[in-house]
Subunit: 100 residues, 2 copies
């Protein structure tokens, strides 16, 4: 990815039971991928879940946060799906690694 | 956490087999927690692994990266444990959520 770009780190603890979570999570990932400025998405869950989405700008992140379907999902997240969660909006300053 | 602070996002795909990975991962987490500027650590793995460590400064991140035992683990990571990995060093600009 071409710097500068942004990472949104979403860390969460699920409540027990599905409550429509899996279907909505997939729908939100599909929808995020269609948004302007979307660069990538990675996710893993065992004891806790960590999802990271990557974006070209803070404006793109704000635009996705205010998407109507996403607002509905966010509300369900607060009321049904997560015991706790944390969102961190971060500027990626440097990156390195071994390619896939 | 008091801003500004930094997040190191470590995304990886493991090779098959343990090769001493689990023991070393725990040892490295324990050692990281003792480093100056360490603020926190979160990790999850299913298809891929995502670990995020939080630090007070870029200097603290550089200091931990150059720790002798950590350098040995990094070398084992490149040669034995990871099919690929990516490290992103990020400035946390904003955060919100529901507390644990």
């Amino acid at each position: 990815m071409t710097k500068p770009y942004y990472a949104v780190i979403f860390t969460s603890k699920r409540t027990s039971g599905d409550h429509g979570y899996d279907a909505m999570a997939q729908k939100m990932e599909d929808l995020a991928r269609q948004q302007p400025g979307f660069l990538g998405f990675e996710s893993a869950r065992d004891e806790i879940g960590i999802s990271v989405s990557y974006w070209e700008s803070l404006q793109d992140i704000a635009h996705w946060k205010s998407n109507t379907d996403h607002l509905i999902a966010q509300e369900k997240g607060r009321t049904d799906w997560y015991a706790w969660y944390k969102v961190r909006i971060c500027l990626v300053e440097r990156e390195y690694g071994i390619d896939q």
